[in-house]
Amino acid sequence: MELLEEFARGDAEAFEALFRQFQGEVYGWIVRIVRDPGAAEDLTVETFWRVYRARSRFDPRRGFGPWARRIATNLALDHLSTRRNETSLEDGFQPPCSPPDPALAADVREKVAAAFTRLPVKLRAAATLAMIEETPYGEIADALGISIGTVKSRVFRAVRLLRGDLQRMGVEP
């Protein structure tokens, strides 16, 4: 608690201590959303930069981890939105992050990845965390700043959109 108060007062050493304590956790959360280790490192630094700039608004009673995770989530969503506009659908996933099931045909895998990349970013983030990473709904809700009901609704809508898209591409889930 003392460390958090010192950070909120602008103490640089307290910030460094918090950075070292939470960098792994923040990175781990971001990489699950963006699925790109290089981008996740950049976004981790950016998250802590924003944390540092907003330190005067930080409330030590509410905990550092959830606050940093909320900022990290917003940055990760922004990153997905930007990348969605910049890259082609085939570039959607970084292979080192996702070892797929070898029994699944390559063309099906590609179609699923393409359909997933086409999802709206908010639905994609909820679906990634809930269905692929199996993160508890409560954790997702906290990080996205929404209710558990809204998380479930986003996952449901993502499933519906994916099913429709896959069927149009000739893949029957």
Binding site: E16, F19, R20, Q23, G24, Y27, G28, V31, R32, R35, P37, E41, T44, V45, F48, W49, Y52, F93, P96, C97, S98, P99, P100, D101, A103, L104, V108, R109, V112, A113, F116, A127, M131, I132, E133, E134, F156, V159, R160, L162, R163, L166, E172, P173
Partner: protein
């Protein structure tokens, strides 16, 4: 829920798979330190003057707003 909806999460997981290793491979503090030490970008005074002039024009001639928005 439609039965095929229930198979979508399984298909998704098999096709994409969870992140294999979410552990950080290196200390990011040196990069953070460099970011903190980077001087803040300061806009020269004439940029502010130009922005103020554009704002003033928009206040005086609000009919020009759609034309300005069209440029974006």
């Amino acid at each position: 829920m439609n039965p095929s909806d229930e198979r979508v999460p399984d298909l998704l997981k098999r096709a994409l798979g969870p992140v294999a290793d979410a552990g950080l491979k290196r200390d990011l503090w040196p990069r953070m330190r460099a970011r903190l030490d980077r001087p803040a970008i300061r806009l020269p005074w004439w940029d502010w003057a130009l922005a103020a002039a554009v704002l003033l024009c928009l206040i005086l001639f609000p009919a020009a707003i759609p034309a300005v928005l069209y440029q974006f």
